[in-house]
């Protein structure tokens, strides 16, 4: 008679105790194992619908290569970014890394919020960057932010409209712009798209100011935009508004509104950043347009902007944060980001990539960089900007004359600049 094998049961004393011991130690050790993993909180600004997915993709790739680090991405709109960071700072719950407008860096540094990155940066790392872009984020000789996005501004023009107006290669000077706008108006379109509302309304006027040789701030640190060059530039815009050479609702149109009108083929000329190329390609692929430098006055000029990614001084994950930054600024991630958003390359490797080297449209922007004015990293930029916006709006509305409006704005701006 075969002996029936006794089925192994957990009722057996020794086995049961072993199982309990294993379960018990797992439970006790669990908190320790999860605490060994670092979570990196990164706040990024919304540039387009591609921004969130891009950073989440980068986070995934980074996590795969660095087990033990979790990256959490938070996407915030630009117009609420400053306020979000302010609330986070006041509440003591800052992220580890965040994208910011480079001009905010000065206050960040003054309040001791930003971590100087010098001691993380090897010479090899520093050399990855195109020098000009690293400068705006240097304060007192220390680098506090890395240039994550950079753009310069140029003029986009509607080819059929401008060819009919006699400028098939786009206008070269402001006189050309006025002449072309008159012809476009006669044909029923809007000549020059002029932004009169919301952020960067002041910058839209600076293009003209700088092209007449004007400056924002004088050597003594005071406002210098109420110079003859400034008055000339603002009078030019005032004339265009009065003569109906712009779109009708100037003070109701943000830059996005003017871009929408351009994409619909209703506006002949406007000045903006390279990301419009991507937008036109996806939203208005049949639009025939060209790109040319910002019109000359007495000189050539444009506006270049960088956005920086900074590390907070009170972060508990600085090593992990630096590793992520290192990863973000290698060639692959950089090229992908610039491709998605239409920004200019800030690293030499990305600039050498065939996508940029052979891209005629982007090369126009790149060629403008030598004459580009960067927003100076000064305290009180926002206060000065608001004063200028109020002044130009009052002129566009016909409530004030350029000289008087600019004089008033310079008084307000001086107060803001002196930190009052």
């Amino acid at each position: 008679m075969a002996k029936a094998a006794a089925p192994p049961t957990v009722r057996t004393g020794v086995r049961r105790r072993k199982l309990m011991a294993a379960a018990g130690s797992a439970l006790v050790l669990a908190p320790f194992t999860t605490r060994a993993a670092t979570t990196l909180h990164v706040t990024v600004a919304y540039y387009s619908a591609a921004t969130g997915p891009y950073f989440k993709q980068m986070a995934k790739e980074f996590e795969a290569a660095n087990p033990g680090i979790t990256v959490s991405i938070d996407v915030v709109n630009w117009d609420t970014l400053l306020q979000t960071l302010q609330t986070d700072i006041s509440g003591g719950v800052t992220p580890d890394l965040s994208i910011i407008g480079t001009r905010w860096l000065l206050t960040f540094v003054k309040d001791g919020m930003a971590e100087p990155l010098g001691h993380f940066m090897t010479p090899e790392f520093q050399n990855r960057f195109i020098g000009a872009f690293l400068e705006p984020a240097k304060i007192n000789g220390k680098v506090y932010g890395l240039p994550i996005a950079a753009s310069a501004r140029a003029m986009f023009y509607n080819k059929p409209m401008l060819t009919k107006a006699g400028f098939p290669d786009g206008p070269k000077t402001w006189d050309d712009v006025v002449a072309a706008a008159r012809k476009i108006k006669a044909a029923g379109g809007y000549g020059f798209g002029l932004q009169g509302k919301a952020i960067e309304t002041d910058v839209y006027w600076y293009y003209a100011l700088w092209s007449y040789g004007g400056e924002l701030i004088g050597p003594n640190g005071k406002a210098a935009f109420d110079s003859p060059a400034g008055v000339k530039a603002l009078t030019l815009y005032q004339t265009m508004v009065k003569e109906g050479l712009t779109q009708p609702g100037v003070t109701d149109d943000t830059r996005e509104d003017v871009q929408n009108l351009f994409k619909q083929g209703r506006v002949g000329m406007m000045i903006t950043a390279p990301f419009l190329i991507n937008q036109i390609a996806s939203e208005a692929p049949h639009l025939q347009y060209g790109i040319c430098p910002v019109p000359r006055g007495t000189t050539s000029a444009t506006y270049a902007v960088t956005d920086s990614i900074v590390m907070f001084a009170n972060s508990h994950a600085k090593e992990a944060g630096w590793k992520f930054l290192d990863f973000l600024f290698t060639k692959g991630p950089r090229v992908q980001f610039n491709k998605n958003e239409g920004f200019l390359p800030t690293t030499k490797a990305a600039a050498a990539d065939p996508y940029f080297a052979d891209n005629k449209q982007l090369q126009i922007f790149v060629s403008l960089l030598p004459e580009a004015h960067f927003a100076p990293t000064i305290p009180g930029w926002e206060g000065m900007a608001q004063a200028v916006i109020d002044a130009v709006q009052s002129v566009y509305l016909g409530r004030a004359e350029p000289a008087a409006a600019l004089k008033l704005a310079s008084v307000q701006a001086d107060r803001a600049l002196s930190g009052d």
């Binding site: 302010q86 609330t87 006041s90 009169g196 509302k197 009708p248 609702g249 109701d252 916006i389 109020d390």
Partner: protein
Amino acid sequence: MVPWLLIGPSLALALVVIVYPFLEILELSLHDVSPFGLVRGFVGLANYARMLEDPVFLGAALRTLEWTALVVGGTVILSLPVAMVLGEDFHGRGLARTIVLLPWSMSLAMAAIVWLWSFNGDYGMVNAVLKEAGLIARPVQWMARGDTAFPVEVGVGILVSVPFTVTIFLGGLASIPGEIYEAARIDGAGRFAQFRWMTLPLLRPFVTIAVVLNMIYVFNSFPIIWVMTQGGPDNSTQILVTYLYMLAFQIGRPGVAAAVSVAMLAIVFAITLVYLRLEEREAA
């Protein structure tokens, strides 16, 4: 002693929720605050001085009084007949009441966005309808100038305040006994006389409540103007609360913004006291 013990916890909670933020703001207004909210140093009344020197502040203060008067006045004048109609019995009254109350269910920001797009100069429904009806030849740029944008914003303000005010008045009308109207009719009073000498005086306490509450809400009402014009262009639609927001979060002067906040509290407190005092005297 026992009454105090019973209401003690609620009183304490109310005090904490109301008094603590007020003390915080008062403290912030007396210090130099960095754009990122870090308190730097005691500066006494410097923020208040800075506030009073700003030309935008005075304009915003006057416009806030204008805004409050127009919206509250318009709301009360519009809500009274609406409430009286809704107080009558008719077919579809339930539906009518629901429709009148609907704007209350939308957030102010949503309502403002919808109307902002409706009044858009290039794509808005309002211009399209007016053009179809032949009332305008070319599109009107409603939101481009303060003198057209401000009335639009007042209109939106009235629209979103009507449901609440109608509800108060409906409650008031329901509290008036029906017999007195019968008695008045028997005595020969016409409908207008009934309204002027009976309904209105009996509704007076409810009108007072509606006016005071609306005054407080409207004085502090931020979303409508901020979403539609951000106080621009050129500060032509700026009111105190949007000016305060701009100071705190865009220009980066939270200390001065705190001073404006304290000034606003003082103003709305004063207006409310004056109004209640006038009411008392009239009613007496």
